[in-house]
């Protein structure tokens, strides 16, 4: 494996210069392949060791009864873990909560970001400020974001309750501590964090829509809504599809926000799967069982994405044929 990287630079410097360059056309392909391998190898190794190998081992673990102890001693357990999972109502509950969290955040992110992107694209003032503001949430460490929102949501002396009180609404809500409000409250934070990036991407897409199309629609007397549904949305569909898929995965995988905000509480009402699996593995030390949960969760996510992407491509095909 090390041969190309060792010989390549030497050969390069020893190569006689220009005159022969035309003759080298054929060997070039092979040289280029070797060069390519030499250049890519350094990135391949860490990737193989620290992301591909763990993935393989992770799938393997799911079929064992491994426990997180100092001297691990585990054996193949076949489908035992999965059978056990079937009866674990808490796990399925966390999957349900994870879906509400993921779908909720993803859709609200898209809606809010689309609104902001349209506003920013319509030539208002304050664009600079908004754009900077829109990127800050995304840059901040998730822990800081969570601490900040805990203060906002605070039941005593929090600004949100103070505001509600000032406008005459109930103002003694324990947002993160109450069974009914905890999940929505956490979802709002998720939207706050992820909206900026979506906005930036959508804005970039909006700016690629040819102005003539919208002008033509305006000349035809189309309303703003009609312009959006007839011109903007179809043109943006590919971008929306890709950003929605990515957001879906990111939101599903997100751990830090929920962990710091509520740690899954109150009463497991915000226990998303990643958190559930983390606790199962590192608190209960059941890593084989936890890996099985991980596998199930990954399969569910991939299936949902596949269905979504398929439906999107179908609509696009139909749109193509319709033209």
């Amino acid at each position: 494996m090390t041969t190309p990287s060792l010989t390549e630079p030497k050969r390069g410097t020893a190569q006689p210069p220009a005159p022969r360059s035309k003759k080298r056309v054929k060997p070039m392909a092979r040289t280029r392949r070797r060069e390519a391998i030499a250049l890519v190898l350094p990135s391949l190794i860490p990737i193989l060791v620290l992301s591909v190998a763990p993935l393989v081992v992770g799938v393997f673990l799911a079929f064992t009864n491994a426990r997180l102890v100092r001297h691990p001693d585990y054996s193949f357990a076949g489908l035992d873990n999965f059978a056990r999972l079937g009866g674990n109502a808490l796990f399925w509950d966390s999957l349900r909560i994870g879906m509400i969290w993921t779908v909720g955040v993803t859709l609200l992110q898209l809606a809010a970001a689309m609104g902001l992107a349209l506003l920013l694209n319509s030539g208002l003032k304050l664009q600079g400020l908004t754009r900077v503001l829109a990127l800050v949430p995304w840059a901040m460490p998730p822990v800081v974001v969570a601490i900040m929102w805990q203060m906002i949501y605070s039941a005593n002396g929090g600004p949100l309750n103070a505001f509600l009180g000032a406008v005459g609404l109930p103002s003694d809500i324990n947002w993160l501590g109450d069974f009914s409000t905890a999940l929505p409250a956490v979802i709002v934070v998720g939207v706050w964090v992820g909206m900026p990036q979506t906005t930036v991407t959508l804005l970039a897409g909006l700016q690629q829509i040819p102005g003539e199309l919208l002008e033509a629609a305006a000349v035809d007397g189309a309303s703003a809504w009609r312009k959006f549904t007839a011109v903007t949305w179809p043109a943006m569909r590919p971008i929306v599809t890709s950003i929605t898929s990515l957001n879906f995965i990111w939101n599903f995988n997100s751990f830090s926000l929920v962990y710091v905000l509520t740690a899954g509480g109150p009463g497991g009402k915000t226990m998303v799967p990643v958190l559930f699996i983390y606790l199962e593995a590192f608190k209960n030390r059941e890593i084989g069982y936890a890996a099985a949960m991980g596998l199930v969760v990954v399969i569910v996510v991939v299936l949902i994405l596949a269905v979504y992407l398929r439906s999107q491509f179908r609509t696009e095909d139909r749109a193509e044929k319709g033209r």
Partner: protein, 275 residues
Amino acid sequence: MRLLVRPAQYVALALYILFLGFPLLWLMSASVKSSGELNSLTVSLLPQEWHWENYTEALTRQGLLHSAWNSLLVALASTVLSIIISVPASYVLARLKGKVRIAGVGWILVSQVFPVVLIILPLFLILRTLGLADNLVGLTLVHTTYMLPFALWMLQGYVAAIPTELEEAGAMDGASRFTVLRTIVFPLLAPGVVATAMFSFVSSWNEFFFALVLLQSPENYTLPITLNTFVGGEGRTALGPLAAGAVLAAIPSIVFFSILRRKLTSGLMAGAVKG
């Protein structure tokens, strides 16, 4: 009707600014409030008196400065590593056609879907076997690996923007590929490398999950982990210093992001629009 559109748009924009900006303002305000004011039930955006000592207290608070130092070390090391590794690979990714490119781009996309829940357990076991769990070197390696896809993606965009004619001219003059890379491609790539490096630094500085799983001894904690330990029981009583610590932890990321704003936008766009 038409006349109402603009004002309505400004109202909407103001609501967005409030939603995005208010939490930040509140955090900053809390960081200079006295604990008495923070615990009182009268709520005001601006502090009655400014208490800068929250910041000195945050800095002298046990562990905060030390874990900031740990974060800095890990972020710098993993940034340098990921850049060294990804610059050559990004060149290949941008220039070569065919299978190499498909495989590379494919992997970058797949890496976005990588199931963290499935990877973290074996990763922990592998690092523990290597004696690198609860170790800053181990965390650095993990951060490096998980930055690579995005670094590669950003950098290959910058490579693609360098005209191949420049390289061909160099090759005509008899320069080897490595000379061409060193004298022509890498210098032109410098701005892209800087942008990518800043992004990598921020990702590592902010990273929480891997650090939480891997690090067990408080002397190895990174800044996010230490901040989180303050959130619980103890933090409740000292909200001011906690807020100050949070502001300090956010500063490097925000500074870098404001510098990066444009570059990042185009990098992301490439990912979303072309991907």
